[in-house]
Symmetry: C2
Subunit: 365 residues, 2 copies
């Protein structure tokens, strides 16, 4: 079968390369591992991600059905050219988080674009390197792929098979559209979170003492590795800049309107309201857990003590009454060993769950 | 005893007023309810928040030990003046989210500042009105109070007793400091989240399809009620504007640096890195669950199926091996009925928990 992948070569055994190697090994695909850093290959191999690639002569024919180039965006095209010159695989893809520039570079360098389909799994972790790899990193995640007009049907089929083997959801998208998309849903939000968090660096201890869940959520991703993120942002610089300019403008306008309000111009509130309303509209467009629009779960709140066994007993009750918990959030109670668990459940389960909890002595406010 | 609160008058039975009335009722405090909207008082009463206030003559003496003014910031001072003229309570506080302006207005109007201590519980919900009230809304939350130099010791003690009865943590803070603090940890982050979410309103369906957990967290609070938030922002306009101007400037600078990078100026990355690093520093200052600095929990990841009972069994294992789960997050797997539970535990518990889970057949990547 044209799309069967018996052997896959993974070039670059960082977080993404090693994770997909692990996923392929689970499906009994033979995986060959390569990295400029021999230590990274060794660690990946020890984790069970495959065997070290021993490049043979060109006469041996392609070593792999598919070569996956898992290196930083700026190095993808050069790596592709070298691998194609050596004829190491029948088909090629990459997994960099930026797509337009590597494809353009590959075209300029004269790579064989019939055998190459660029792709990008939308998955990551706050940690990096092969040691952080997980076979299930791509499970249920979107995986963008960007075939050019020159890509062969077989090359596309090979990449689709890779995505399928990793348990991800293929999303076909034009490279430039992809880059604009990740700028707005990933790269620019990261920088915005950093800018909000940066204000906390200079804030008073009193201010930090008044911090609640809202600012925790807004700034969570700001804890990511600056070096890694500079690489991502640099590779998608223009689309990210465009989004950041728009966000910056909106915030400057909101600030001006608030200044006018502070000076007694009551009409200035309209502009702030418009921004808040656009925010509500945008927030409402984010798909929910299962890919569709966010379902209207009902949140059941339960007061819990901070000691072992409480959550087990709580979920035991959910189980007993046959209620599926779609999401759970622990509301922190700064300074007190108490908190509130917020259980998201289907609307028709909420009353049943609340009643069952109350009957068993739980405090359901 | 000077600080005992036998009767409390709550003026304004919205979310905050009704919630604190419910909390006081649990402690057997007599609560009198008032609101300009008779429907709101009726609903609060039906929820068990207290009895409707029947104003008597001035000769009857103060009806309450403490009056809590739970109205929008712009109406606090006028309400305080009216209540004090009628002598309805021995002491007075308010619970508005802005503090400097109401206090200044009260001074200008000639209110009795010896009997008044402004305060602000740092608690809220995305829903509003008496129907969303919860007796435990303030449990473990910070509650700022801002005594002026004129406030009597008895007035301060009365407010401290209120905070204690509601289960919150009192934080004494100067009014202007309070307003700057909430601007940076609450009000400005809300507007920033709205501005990021506003970009999603115009984004392509493809872009939304590539949205992950990061942008979900950054924009969660952007779903809040625009009308309510305009009121909050208007009342703290200048401090919020100052923070937003700084965030806007940082984002504009990052955008310029990225534009320079896109045009080949490799030195421009330094500015972006600086912002990302300041973000990491600020993020690291947010206190953790128990009020101190965020402890270094270790995250144990477990693959879970999307069916009833999975979480109960998972927490059962934690219980069996005596591991306390400090926090839990469900990683959504868009499009697939699978996910990853991330359990935050003490560093010395992680290995034990992982081993126990693996032994019982759980997939711990």
């Amino acid at each position: 079968m044209a799309t069967e992948l018996r052997t896959v070569l993974v070039v670059g055994t960082g977080l993404i390369g090693t994770s997909l190697a692990l996923a392929l090994r689970r499906k009994d695909v033979r995986v060959l591992l390569a990295d400029r850093d021999p230590g990274a290959v060794r660690l990946a191999r020890e984790l069970g991600a495959g065997e070290e690639w021993q490049p043979g002569g060109q006469d041996d024919g392609p070593a792999a059905d598919l070569a996956v180039i898992a290196v930083p965006p700026g190095q993808v095209a050069a790596e592709l050219l070298e691998l194609q010159k050596r004829g190491v695989a029948r088909f090629y893809t990459d997994v960099a988080s930026v797509k337009a520039e590597p494809i353009e570079q590959a075209a300029r360098l004269g790579c064989d674009l019939a055998a190459y389909v660029a792709s990008h799994p939308l998955a990551g972790r706050e940690r990096s390197g092969p040691g952080a790899a997980r076979a299930d990193l791509f499970l249920g995640r979107p995986w963008a792929y960007c075939p050019t007009g020159e890509a062969s049907g077989e090359a596309v089929a090979a990449v689709l098979r890779l995505i399928e083997l990793c348990g991800a959801n293929p999303v076909e998208v034009d490279a430039a559209d992809h880059d604009r998309a990740v700028a707005v849903v990933s790269h620019a939000p990261h920088v915005a979170a950093s800018a909000v968090a940066a204000r906390l660096a200079d804030a008073s201890d009193v201010a930090l003492g008044l911090a609640g869940q809202g600012v925790r959520d807004v700034t969570r991703i700001a804890g990511g590795d600056p070096g890694l993120w500079l690489g991502i942002l640099s590779g998608n610089a223009a689309p990210v800049a465009e989004v950041l300019e728009a966000v910056s403008r909106d915030l400057a306008d909101a600030a001006s309107a608030l200044r006018a309000l502070a000076e007694g111009d009551g009409t200035a509130g309209g502009e702030v309201t418009q921004l808040l309303k656009r925010g509500v509209a945008g927030h409402g467009r984010i798909p929910g857990k299962h890919g569709g629009p966010a379902p209207a779960y009902v949140v059941v709140q339960v007061v819990i003590g901070d000691r072992p066994g409480q959550l087990a007993r709580l979920f035991q009750v959910c189980d007993e009454v046959g209620v599926n918990v779609e999401d759970v959030r622990l509301e922190h109670a700064p300074g007190l060993p108490l908190g509130v668990a917020e259980l998201s459940v289907q609307p028709d389960s909420a009353a049943r769950l609340s009643q069952a909890l109350v009957e068993r002595g739980w405090q359901v406010p």
